[in-house]
């Protein structure tokens, strides 16, 4: 495996509280790593550390000069700002022309959104624009923090499918936070689960056992309720 990212003994504290402790894993080029865990487990914190936004202890080693794309969660973005979609693309590292913007948008089936205003887009459209914005910089790895709710399941499946295709075509490595276990089972080459002190890493088939899910989310599995009625409770995963 040709690693694009090596993490050794990573620990992150937020406001004096340990959020991630002693986490180690490796990501190969072209892999799709899905991070799962309940709310507040430190998934977004992990991504922010991987992007170098926050201080951490331990070692995070990206392949030298690796270009990273980042799609923040909707809540971390000011959606009121009357920014035209094409203006967002003008703010990126490279100044894209109109044609390149159209191309980036059509990558995620959103051609025609360029002249719309970000504050008038639906949650799904908004997220696709953020993905297109990240992809326009031709990243080698994309870190995608999926929002917990708000987005229709059908559209979401399409986006994962599309990202998977782009990943294959361009050798893009994907790191995603996901709340939908169906998506995780279908697309992940590696699953990373986080919940306070507890963590596990492995292939989805090997580690996504009912026992693990109970350990991760507790007995109530209230977590599944906001996956929009998709049957993803531990029993229906059909594996013991």
């Amino acid at each position: 495996m040709d690693p694009i990212l090596q993490v050794e003994n990573l620990s992150v504290e937020l406001d004096g509280q340990s959020v991630i402790e002693g986490l180690s894993f490796e990501v190969g080029r072209g892999e799709t790593v899905m991070v799962i865990g309940p709310n507040g487990a430190g998934k977004t914190t992990l991504f922010r550390a991987l992007m170098g936004f926050i201080p951490y202890r331990g070692r995070i080693a990206w392949k030298p000069e690796a270009r990273l794309g980042y799609v923040p969660q909707g809540v971390d973005v000011n959606r009121e700002f009357p920014l035209a979609v094409r203006e967002l693309f003008h703010l990126g590292k490279q100044r894209l022309n109109e044609k390149a913007i159209e191309e980036a948008l059509s990558l995620v089936n959103s051609a025609g959104l360029a002249r719309r205003t970000l504050s008038n887009l639906s949650s799904g459209e908004f997220q696709r624009v953020l993905i297109a914005f990240a992809l326009a910089e031709r990243p080698e790895a994309l870190l995608f923090d999926e929002p917990t709710s708000d987005i229709d399941v059908g559209g979401q499946e399409t986006i994962y499918h599309r990202l998977q295709q782009i990943g294959r075509e361009q050798g893009l490595t994907l790191l995603m936070i996901s709340h939908d276990l169906n998506v995780v089972l279908r697309y992940a080459t590696q699953v990373l689960c986080l919940n306070k002190g507890f963590k596990c890493i492995g292939k989805p088939m090997d580690i996504l056992t009912p026992e693990l899910l109970r350990r991760l989310y507790g007995d109530e599995v209230g977590f599944y309720r906001h996956t929009h009625g998709v049957r993803a409770d531990s029993d229906s995963l059909g594996r013991d």
């Binding site: 922010r48 794309g69 000011n78 035209a84 967002l88 990240a134």
Partner: protein, 257 residues
């Protein structure tokens, strides 16, 4: 002479209107207001030292900008409360030390009585602010939009925020001369809020905000000059009218949809 007053006022308002775009979308409107009141003790100091009030207001404002920056950076402090405290404390100290004959000018501005030197400084500073915001508009916009997205695109978010507050302090210093410490907060917030009612892009938001600020300042100054009224309140009233008009337009558009 009045023509130069108009030019200085309009340029200062334009600079403040441009920054106002980022103030309302960074959700630091209160910080802008607090800054304006901090100018008052500075003005008191300048009056005591018999120098132009701008030289008293600016250092105090810059100091306050740095304080506001650190407060806004720290997640542990009650940001709103601290800014509120800074705000009322400065007002209290300022009012205590400024004598009555100067108080009106300090609170409501005295742009109609600017000297030639003060006008030159106002015009130059306005141009510097306008150019700086223009030069920084990429990092400023990205930071307003999402600080993590800005960082992912190589923006030094902390540095951008510090620059932003320093520019805001300079702009507020100018605004104090135009509409006074009590009303300069409205100069920051109203034109950009009115623009946001209509704008569908950053370009139109910026153009409208600068345009509204300049227009209401021009109208306010002309009316105040003609009828011997205080220009500061007149300017703010015109801004308020523009805001109500744009709000009506926005609501009508929403209903039509």
């Amino acid at each position: 002479m009045f023509a130069w007053v108009l030019v200085s006022g309009i340029l200062a308002a334009a600079a403040i209107g441009y920054l106002g775009v980022f103030v309302i979308f960074k959700r630091v409107a209160l910080a802008g207001d607090a800054l304006s009141h901090v100018a008052l003790p500075g003005i008191a100091l300048a009056l005591a030292l018999r120098v132009d009030v701008l030289w008293g207001a600016l250092p105090v404002l810059l100091l306050a900008a740095v304080i506001v920056y650190f407060v806004s950076k720290s997640a542990h402090l009650y940001e709103d409360a601290i800014i509120g405290i800074l705000f009322s404390l400065s007002l209290a100290i300022g009012v205590l030390f400024i004598n009555l004959e100067n108080l009106e000018a300090a609170l409501f501005g005295d742009i109609l009585h600017l000297g030639a030197g003060e006008m030159t400084v106002t015009i130059l500073l306005s141009l510097i602010i306008l150019l700086s915001v223009w030069a920084l508009h990429r990092p400023l916009t990205l930071t307003c939009f999402s600080s993590d997205l800005a960082r992912a695109n190589g923006v030094k978010v902390e540095r951008t925020n510090l620059f932003f507050f320093v520019l805001l302090a300079l702009a507020v210093g100018l605004g104090v001369k135009v509409v006074g410490t009590l009303l300069v907060g409205s100069l920051v917030i109203i034109p950009s809020s009115a623009a946001a009612n209509l704008a569908r892009s950053l370009k139109s938001l910026t153009a409208l905000s600068i345009g509204f600020a300049a227009l209401s300042t021009a109208l306010g100054l002309l009316v105040a000059h003609a009828f011997r009224l205080l220009p500061g309140p007149m300017i703010v009233i015109f801004e308020g009218v523009l805001f109500l008009l744009t709000l009506t337009g926005k609501l009508a558009r929403q209903r039509a949809r």
